[in-house]
């Protein structure tokens, strides 16, 4: 497991988090201590180690309440971690971001209807950023704005338009252009296509793939739709109740998952083919509340493979194969249960 100390053997990474935790709640003021019962803290993140390689799309998947969005907020600096460290391009990022470290990590939000300022035109939105961060001299702002718009598939004539004049897909393009304006190293995209219709979703996914291959942009892609993730991502990290429980290359993760939760997620995907999967990895119940994380392995109450050892030990994330990590004591046992209708390996 990586520590806060930079070891020479670490892979190159544009973004790295180590031993990151985020706790919400617990009484802070004396008044709340007097008026309410015992302090209850919510552990949204409970020891996250993750790195993003240059030029890759890393998908972060998990159900609601798993901590995906909290992690994204900490990465862009809009929330501060309780403990642990975030480093951007090898440099530790300050808890309160300065202009330079906030420039390096940019975010695209889920809802393109609420994440654009309705009162300013597209041209104004872009020029504000370009000038504030001194990306180009004032005389080149317009040309640079047009270049950004072309990059996301829009034309020069939208510069004078307001966000309300655009459809959902076009707004998401504008949000991406805004994020790219300051030439970031990393793009954090929090469910960027889940508010869009399928026919539009495909064009935005295509855009992300182009940005990766042409600009070499590193993208952390948060999503719940595994078919989308499989299509776009190079690697996938699976979160469950504030922990990363499995990380692997996309094809390895989907064809040979080594954590029962990943396996259950895959088996839950609604399929387009006639065959439907039913092999005992259908989960009962819902994720437990992060206020009350089960002892031992946090997945054991829902796990079909759980045994005594799982109730007593909290498994760390361990290497189980080439570039494949899993936090499961039964990872080897699981490897012997083949995935029915496994998607073919893709190059």
């Amino acid at each position: 497991m990586s520590t806060a100390v930079q070891e020479p053997t670490l892979e190159p990474s544009v973004l790295r988090v180590s031993a990151l935790t985020k706790r919400y709640g617990g009484h802070s003021s004396w008044l709340s201590r007097l008026t309410s019962g015992p302090s209850v803290a919510l552990k949204a993140l409970d020891g996250i180690d993750l790195h993003l390689r240059p030029g890759e799309v890393l998908a972060l998947v998990g159900e609601s309440g798993s901590g995906k969005s909290t992690l994204a907020k900490i990465l862009v600096g809009s929330a501060t971690p309780t403990s642990g460290e975030v480093s951007v391009a090898g440099q530790p990022a300050p808890a309160r971001r300065d202009k330079e470290s906030s420039r390096r990590v940019q975010m695209v939000f889920q809802d393109p209807y609420s994440s654009l300022n309705p009162r300013i035109t597209v041209g104004k939105m872009l020029s504000e950023l370009l000038l504030l961060h001194r990306i180009v001299p004032r005389s080149e702002v317009r040309a640079e704005s047009v270049r950004l718009l072309n990059l996301v598939g829009l034309e020069e004539d939208v510069l004078g338009a307001y966000p309300s004049q655009f459809s959902g897909g076009q707004r998401q393009r504008l949000a991406i252009a805004r994020a790219l304006a300051v030439r970031p190293d990393v793009l954090i995209a929090d469910e960027p296509v889940s508010a869009l219709d399928v026919s539009v979703q495909a064009t935005i996914l295509e855009l992300f793939a182009t940005l990766r291959s042409e600009l070499g942009l590193s993208i952390l892609f948060i999503a719940h739709n595994l078919a989308v993730v499989q299509h776009l991502a190079d690697r996938v990290a699976v979160m469950y109740l504030g922990r990363i429980v499995e990380v692997a290359e996309t094809s390895a993760l989907f064809s040979a998952p080594r954590h029962p939760y990943t396996r259950a997620l895959i088996d839950s995907i609604p399929r387009m083919t006639e065959t439907s999967v039913n092999d005992g990895f259908e989960l009962d119940g819902e994720p437990p509340s992060p206020y009350d994380v089960p002892a031992g392995c946090r997945f054991h109450p829902r796990c079909p493979l759980a045994s005594e050892v799982c109730r007593e030990n909290d498994p760390p994330l361990l290497t189980v194969g080439r570039a494949h990590e899993s936090a499961c004591l039964k990872a080897d046992e699981l490897a012997d249960i083949p995935v029915p209708n496994a998607p073919q390996e893709h190059a």
Partner: protein, 345 residues
């Protein structure tokens, strides 16, 4: 009597009429009457649902799929109303019948499940009482018997510890449990027709699977028919046998799910299938549909899909293609349907 059974009684269903479908929607148009020309959001939609049949209606936002469903249930939001056409349930005209008689059908005959349970449940009433309300009113059960039935229904929808949970308020339950409460409420009077409006869209994927399996089991056990509105093609594939695809207020294609997915006969259906990522075929490139759906008040003359269509010819922009049979049991509203003969793997 029908095969429908609730937890308590084989309720006082009307006998099934013979020779007519359970639900018949005929040339239904829904929209807003304004001073000038009425704005037609749903135009001339027709389909039948037979007893025990499960039908999925698929379309993107603004296609009119939810309004079609709400028109059947009589729950259109003001000022939207039915402009013309007919909705018949078990041979009886739903739109022409007195409001009181129609209300009496909702529950024991037709029930609806909404997308967002938090807005569909009464926040200040215990969930058990909300489930019991229907059986008390429609089946004439006593408060005690209806309460017991509610707990039974909750147990059947897979809610753990139902007797305790029946005393909970909606906000005390998770999203998955609330959706189960709504399903329990909908099936408590043993309806013959269940209308579902994106019932799993707000749920996580593992919970979605549980809820879809539950709906499937309930329908199989009781022979209930399903009309299932969703934007997710894969969800339709797992739940329904029949499919209608809506675009810009029209049904553009209908048929068996299996046949339609294999060989779509309308360019829009084909576009939808090719633009959605398919988990079983990760290598396939996604092909987006160019352009945007037309604005509801400004639909093009002729085929509404023509401006985005790769198969378009001159006559497409002159007349609206009728929904016509293109193969046994398959309808498509496309002049060029014969050119779509390719079989998608």
């Amino acid at each position: 009597m029908s095969t429908v059974q609730t937890g308590a009684t084989a309720s006082g269903h009307q006998p099934l009429a013979t020779g007519v479908p359970l639900l018949r929607v005929h040339d239904l148009s829904v929209g807003v009457r304004s001073t000038g020309r009425p704005v037609r959001i749903v135009e001339d939609v027709s389909f039948d649902v037979d007893p025990g049949q499960r039908m999925g209606i698929v379309g993107e936002s603004g296609s009119g799929k939810s309004l079609t469903l709400r028109a059947i249930a009589g729950l259109l939001p003001k000022p939207v109303e039915v402009l013309s056409g007919a909705v018949e349930y078990n041979g009886a005209d739903l739109l022409g019948m007195p409001a009181k008689k129609r209300r009496a059908l909702m529950g024991p005959e037709i029930a609806m499940i909404f997308q967002e349970p938090m807005t569909a449940l009464n926040p200040v009433m215990r969930v058990g009482d909300q489930i019991a309300e229907g059986p008390r009113r429609h089946l004439g059960l006593s408060a005690k018997a209806a309460g017991d039935l509610a707990v039974q229904m909750m147990a059947r929808t897979g809610i753990p510890d139902p007797a305790r949970r029946a005393r909970a308020y909606p906000h005390e339950l998770s999203g998955g449990l609330r959706q189960r409460i709504m399903i329990a409420m909908a099936v408590s009077c043993g309806p013959r027709l269940l209308l579902c409006d994106e019932p799993t869209t707000a749920l996580d994927v593992t919970v979605q699977l549980q809820v879809l399996r539950l709906l499937e089991r309930l329908c199989e056990d009781t022979g209930t028919s399903l009309v299932f509105v969703t934007h997710d093609l894969a969800v339709v594939n797992q739940t329904c046998s029949e499919l209608a695809v809506m675009y810009a207020g029209h049904i553009v294609e209908s048929g068996r799910v299996k046949d339609t997915f294999r060989q779509p006969r309308h360019p829009y259906t084909r576009g939808l299938l090719e633009s959605a990522p398919d988990f079983d075929r990760p290598d396939r490139a996604l092909v987006p549909i160019p352009g945007f759906p037309p604005n509801v008040s400004d639909r093009p003359a002729g085929c509404p899909f023509a401006p985005r269509c790769g198969y378009v010819r001159a006559h497409c922009t002159e007349a609206v293609p009728p929904l016509a049979e293109v193969a046994p049991g398959r309808l498509a509203a496309c002049f060029e349907s014969d050119r779509l003969d390719e079989v998608l793997a």
